[in-house]
């Protein structure tokens, strides 16, 4: 068996009196691993500790054999795509990537070349010279991923890379992340949507309220989760038409309209629903602007799981 890429022992993280991570111990094998949990589960804190942005309150962390805290060599071997958009909005995507590569020690020409390659990889060439402030959510996600992979990192940390993207971009990003795995890179990708993680890997780590709930093969917990109804929020231009079409599908048990352009769909078969949605949208020729699974939904699933 190969050495674990991440090894964590008795990891604790506190923000004042709030416990973000509580005695987490785990190892992850090479390849793609999924980090799953609702908001506030500790996923972002965990990732930030692994990339070296945060120092844990207690415990030991080893990533690719090294302690990540204040370790510039570790920074060159790993790439991080943060959840939140934090960019110098006045910069163009190309300029941002070129600077990031130069700050990682590349020569000027080499950095320009690497930036062009990364932009090509995430299909952002057309918008490369526009200020980042004008980018859409999907473009910003792709730029963050480009930044994480541009320096040929061996290990990628992708924090909620699919959040807020439309189904088409989502499919593209899922394929992109899979391609990183095929290239031999290891990836730790976080999400609060099981379906997204499942599309990427079978190896998952489940967090809930700062504790490690489960770690291993997704199929073992999948059947448990399937029994719980899922809630999916869809933002679209033709909410009523899409809702009518979705209701004809057996996987959908209930539809409601919290806002004019938003549908809240309750389903007991999320796989079928996620597979059916792009087809229905295509048939109706309506655009799906955003797809998300409300956190309270996953929170309920986790409560259900932890109570079992």
């Amino acid at each position: 068996m190969s050495d674990p890429i991440i090894a964590v022992e008795h990891l604790n993280m506190w923000y004042g009196r709030v416990t973000a991570l509580n005695d987490v111990s785990l190892t992850t094998p090479p390849g793609i691993s999924g980090l799953l949990g609702p908001n506030g589960a500790g996923k972002t804190s965990f990732m930030r500790i692994l990339v070296g942005l945060m120092r844990p309150s207690g415990g030991a962390v080893t990533v690719l054999g090294d302690d990540p805290w204040n370790n510039t060599a570790h920074n060159l071997r790993t790439g991080y795509c943060p959840e939140h958009d934090g960019f110098h909005e006045w910069m163009s995507g190309r300029e941002f990537l070129t600077w990031m590569l130069r700050l990682r020690g590349r020569m000027r020409e080499d950095a320009r070349h690497g930036a062009a390659e990364a932009l090509d990889r995430v299909r952002l060439q057309d918008a490369a010279d526009r200020p980042i402030g004008t980018y859409s959510r999907g473009m910003r996600q792709r730029l963050k991923i480009a930044q994480a992979v541009s320096h040929d990192a061996r290990l990628l940390f992708l924090d909620e890379p699919l959040t807020g993207t439309d189904p088409l971009v989502r499919l593209e990003l899922i394929e992109l992340i899979r391609s990183f795995g095929r290239e031999g890179r290891s990836v730790l990708v976080s999400s609060h949507v099981l379906h997204e993680i499942e599309a990427l890997t079978t190896n998952i780590v489940l967090f809930h309220r700062g504790r490690l709930v489960a770690c291993g093969d997704v199929h073992e917990i999948r059947s448990l989760i399937d029994r719980h109804p899922h809630l999916v929020s869809v933002r679209t231009t033709r909410a009523r038409d899409l809702a009518a079409a979705l209701l004809r599908d057996e996987s959908v048990s209930e539809v409601s309209f919290p806002r004019e352009s938003e549908i809240l769909v309750r389903t007991r078969r999320p796989d079928d629903f996620y597979a059916r949605l792009p087809k229905v949208a295509l048939e109706l020729e309506c655009s799906v602007e955003e797809l998300s699974s409300p956190d309270d939904n996953l929170e309920a699933v986790f409560r259900y799981l932890t109570e079992k």
Binding site: N39, R55, L76, P82, G105
Partner: protein, 280 residues
């Protein structure tokens, strides 16, 4: 001879190591950030106040006597005291806590540059740029003053150069302090502004020996020696019970302040966790 030439050619062609290339990029990236965003607009606006006031004064009070000293006061009180503190605060906070908050600092901390280098660059790269801008502002103030036929002081390049040099020293001290606060405290703006008010604005008004322990007073002493031939004159008439430090003491004090806060800024940068927005 051939060997010597081969040595230099080899030296020039040598590819610098990753850390050196990253450090060079950090300097360039810091310069790029100085001239971008709202911070540069705010700074230019601040720096234009003194020349604008001087210009207006020259135009309005052209024939009145006693206008001339006011131009020196503008340089002395506004450009070399208030503006310096404010511009240092704008950059010190913008480059540290603001970037941590908006998430851009995270990218910088995940490069080949150690965090102490980032903090060092924030002080040592930004201060000379701001000093040159301040120097330009002072030159413009005097240029505007020359419009007054009442007899404005002719500053001359030496005095403007001395002012720029003093601005550089003071900016380095203030920036080191603000960068330290930006990395050390969560409520850094309140803490740094509060400290600055007490330390730099209130303390020099009080006739105690502690008044000599301010950056402002010591930079003014340097200014007296470099630009005013060391004459105390009207510049410190409010400080009746205080023995002014001499040039050597002022230099020593400012060196200690710069070294202290620069070291503290680097140490705090090395120990600062960049937490997510949810946690914040």
């Amino acid at each position: 001879m051939t060997l010597v030439r081969a040595f230099y050619v080899g030296l020039l062609r040598r590819v610098p190591p990753v850390k050196t290339r990253a450090a060079v990029a950090l300097v360039e990236f810091t310069i790029r950030r100085v001239f971008s965003g709202k911070r540069i607009s705010a700074t230019l606006l601040l720096l234009m106040v003194a020349p604008a006031v001087a210009g207006a004064l020259a135009a309005l009070g052209a024939s009145r006597p006693g206008v001339a000293p006011f131009f020196d006061q503008l340089t002395f009180h506004l450009s070399l005291h208030i503006t310096l503190v404010l511009t240092a605060m704008v950059y010190g906070v913008a480059l540290t806590s603001s970037e941590i908050e908006d998430g851009t600092a995270g990218y910088l901390f995940l490069t080949a540059c150690p965090r102490w280098q980032v903090a060092l660059a924030h002080v040592l790269v930004v201060s000379p740029i701001l000093a040159i801008l301040t120097g330009a502002s002072i030159a413009l103030t005097y240029a505007a003053a020359t419009l007054s036929p009442a007899g404005a002081p002719m500053a001359g390049p030496v005095v403007i150069l001395a002012d720029t040099l003093i601005a550089w020293i003071a900016l380095t001290a203030y920036l080191a302090f603000f960068v330290f606060c930006g990395y050390a405290f969560k409520r850094n703006l309140a803490i740094s502004v509060g400290t600055m008010l007490v330390w730099e604005f209130l303390l020099p008004m009080i006739p105690t020996k502690f008044a000599t322990l301010t950056v402002t007073l010591n930079t003014r002493v340097l200014w007296l020696y470099l630009a005013q031939q060391g004459e105390r004159g009207r510049w410190f008439r409010h400080l009746t019970g205080v023995d002014l430090p001499n040039y050597g003491q002022a230099s020593m004090f400012l060196s200690v302040v710069v070294a202290l806060f620069l070291t503290l800024a680097m140490i705090t940068a090395m120990n600062r966790s960049v937490i997510g927005r949810e946690a914040a």
